[in-house]
Amino acid sequence: MTSRRSLSLLGLFSVAFSSAALGQGSNAGVVEVTSSAKNFPGYVVDDVVVPVPSEIFSVLDKLGEPNWRQELRNLKAPETTDRTRLSLVFGSVVAEGFIAVQAQDKKAVEDIGREVIDLSKSLGIQKAVLPHANAILDASKSNNWPAIRKEFDLTQKTVRETMEKMKDNDLSQCVSVGGWLRGTAAVTSVVGKNFSADRAELLQQPMLVDHFIGQIGKMPGNTKNHATVKAILDGLNVIKEIMTKSTEAFTPEGVSTINKTTGGLLELIDGKP
């Protein structure tokens, strides 16, 4: 995390002369402020921290009692060596872990912990992930849900940092996108089952969608032109349009469309026909 979000003093001073600030990650850095913030003679840290699904789940819990067990999916890792897809799957599996924590489903947490290990082997990052996966499995034995949630957050962070160290920034972004898609599919499912304006408002996330669209746009050609990534880009544009139309309030149809879009993309990521 430290390296990815680093903002160097040298980078800050050089931003006036070059658009490329000297962060350690490809997108780390700052840009001169062009936002609507009034009288702000400063700099925007050009990096986005994507919320974990639990942040939205906690609000849904306050607004009702969603049946999180009903939202859990059966895991079946795709038989592929395609690292782009594996990274997307990794993100979605970690998000599944947050759902399992919300459901307090010990067996699901253990299955997801083992899946995290298998996927990390396929991605060649097992060494970095194993301590977290083991911590998840250990904490599940004592039903220590806060510790499990913390480890899922750490797992995602470690994986993305490891990928960035390996110059796989595009794969790191795929992990984030996969996680966001799975979290959003779960949220729209819960909101769709018991629609209210307050619940639906949680989907007002245009900055995150713009961020993902922007990150895909920066990916190298082979990743950007990957069939699944292209489909995700199309899906994100559909979701963005709904969010733009829903600044006052979401309709049940809008929520349903986001649910179908994210669900369809997750099936594509999983390799289901």
Binding site: M1, T2, R5, S6, L7, S8, L9, G11, L12, F13, G23, V30, V33, S35, S36, A37, K38, F40, P41, G42, Y43, V44, V45, D47, V48, V49, V50, P51, V52, S54, E55, I56, S58, V59, K62, L63, P146, R149, K150, D153, L154, K157, D198, E201, L202, L203, Q204, Q205, P206, M207, L208
Partner: protein, 144 residues
């Protein structure tokens, strides 16, 4: 001559390490600020922002907040004797009501915010040192 060269290489090798450690110190202080909040039920996110900046320079991060959650932001620095400020703005650039300086120490400050709407917010912050030209910073957050 060889000895001088070896010393120079050693210093060059150690320079980025010490700088890295100092940025990490800023995060450690942000986490020290977070501790009382954890006792109140806040969940600390593992992701955070950090870096090094000119003293007094205002910085801004844009962040998604969800109505219904209470958020806390913890700003830490590794430099002594600094003044730390945080402000939260809504999408239109208007200040959002915060509970300011709910946990303040010599190396950190904190604010709490209940976002009135779900959406993008801007977290503005600065660290001003009386003695240093540049300061190390880390901004972390949690929710409940």
């Amino acid at each position: 001559m060889k000895r001088i060269l070896a010393m120079a290489l050693l210093c060059a090798a150690l320079l980025p390490l010490s700088s890295h450690a100092t940025v990490d110190d800023a995060h450690s202080f942000a986490m020290e600020a977070a501790q009382p909040f954890v006792n109140e039920g806040f969940i600390v996110r593992e992701d955070y922002w950090n870096g090094e900046v000119k003293s007094g320079q205002k910085l801004m991060v844009k962040h998604q907040l969800f109505k219904g959650n209470e958020y806390a932001f913890w700003l830490g620095t590794a430099n002594d004797g600094c003044t730390l400020e945080i402000q939260v703005l809504d999408e239109k650039g208007n200040p959002v009501q915060i509970t300011p300086k709910v946990g303040v120490g010599p190396m950190f400050t904190s604010v709490k915010v209940n976002p009135p709407k779900t959406g993008t917010y801007s977290i503005l912050f600065s660290i001003t040192s009386k003695t240093e030209k540049g300061v190390f910073w880390a901004l972390a957050y949690g929710y409940r």
